[in-house]
Symmetry: D2
Subunit: 141 residues, 4 copies
Amino acid sequence: MQKILSGKTEVKVRFNEADPLGIVWHGHYIRYFEDGREAFGTKHGIGYLDFYKHGFVVPVVNIECSYKRSLKYGETVTVETIFVPCEAAKLKFDYRLYKSGTAEVVATGSSVQVFLNRETSVLQLINPVFFEDWKRKHNLI
Amino acid sequence: MQKILSGKTEVKVRFNEADPLGIVWHGHYIRYFEDGREAFGTKHGIGYLDFYKHGFVVPVVNIECSYKRSLKYGETVTVETIFVPCEAAKLKFDYRLYKSGTAEVVATGSSVQVFLNRETSVLQLINPVFFEDWKRKHNLI
Amino acid sequence: MQKILSGKTEVKVRFNEADPLGIVWHGHYIRYFEDGREAFGTKHGIGYLDFYKHGFVVPVVNIECSYKRSLKYGETVTVETIFVPCEAAKLKFDYRLYKSGTAEVVATGSSVQVFLNRETSVLQLINPVFFEDWKRKHNLI
Amino acid sequence: MQKILSGKTEVKVRFNEADPLGIVWHGHYIRYFEDGREAFGTKHGIGYLDFYKHGFVVPVVNIECSYKRSLKYGETVTVETIFVPCEAAKLKFDYRLYKSGTAEVVATGSSVQVFLNRETSVLQLINPVFFEDWKRKHNLI
């Protein structure tokens, strides 16, 4: 059976991330997604530097965020990052942001990344071998 | 006949917006969208401070961006912001980013904003009168 | 005897904080100082929101940073924040940034803040009473 | 006679640069300094990419900023960047920020940069030849 692989991390809202309305400026959520992706990568051995070591860079080609509740300075947000299996040579994540310690959803979102050869910047049309191995190891295929 | 209302602005890529790959970090495009929205608002009299003056704040509730080409430090990007008419009490924009002086599309995206009463933060379910007037004046309804 | 009051916090370098040289852009260190100040404030009961609760905002009026070593994506920096006693109605901190787990100094710096009445924005020429009390309690005067 | 070489550029305050107090967060001024330095470099042929082309990168080793007045969203700031001649192998600038169209000083500051060989990262203890030539051409030595 396919497993669902996810990770969680906590991010404290910085004073300088809140805007004149006193709430976190919407663009900063993209950083929180990246914090979530990093924590996922560190936990499951599939971080940015793992791809790099295997000869790939993984630029984001699509990002989406829906904002449900505002976040204020002093609050902490829990970023849940969920790996979304897909057959194409892409790396997909869904994100769920909660006010820490509650079930209150602050935002949801998603990202898509592709694989480029790190030397030539050429787009990889098939999944890197080490990534296929990683998915197999985690029962994701 | 319905008009298409749009605006254009130029943004110079800052050194501090480029990441270790030498290209603009994807999260900064959300700033470029905001720069585009601002230029549109200034040009057509429907900026953030116009809404504020009429008693509203207009938080972003959805954002989406698709990345087509990378941007490097030293380059200039043209942000085209297109008003997307809609009947609901929402403010919708599409964005097209070009390498300045070319027809090369760097990214496309969209944003959705809602109207909150600036004092009570209550969501407005119908369009503000001044916004309806603005749309009529510009042959958008 | 006067005590030295300080605090330490760890900051993980974000991918999006590194510039095209692969090292953290110098402007981001100002955020690390703020992270240090926050951790100090939380630890010792003298954070931004404590001042706010007592009717003050505490804008930064001077900042200084000397850079000794570069920081790379993937590294963690330890921010040591040291309270600098002063008689004037000011809040002074020194900062020392280390590569975490080492004695290697990455940067040193300082900040000066003043007290403004949060309603009137009027500059306070004498130290707020609660701040004097706080200093006494911590043997800083 | 020694000339004073300077440049001016205008920066529009972005909504996302203002903090919960409605004023520009102090860390963003470091970006404005960089905008000023860039404009100076473009005007006088001594920009970041000019150094790069000659084999150098020029990291900032010290930065200082004194804040005199606050800046609000919607305002425009004029950044005046003044070259500070010095004999050591360093690049020094002073900055003066004004509310555009006025003589009101918003902030003053300074930066110091050094020259590193771009391949080896070795610190240059004497001024690059092209930089000496540039100074001579502009009557700065």
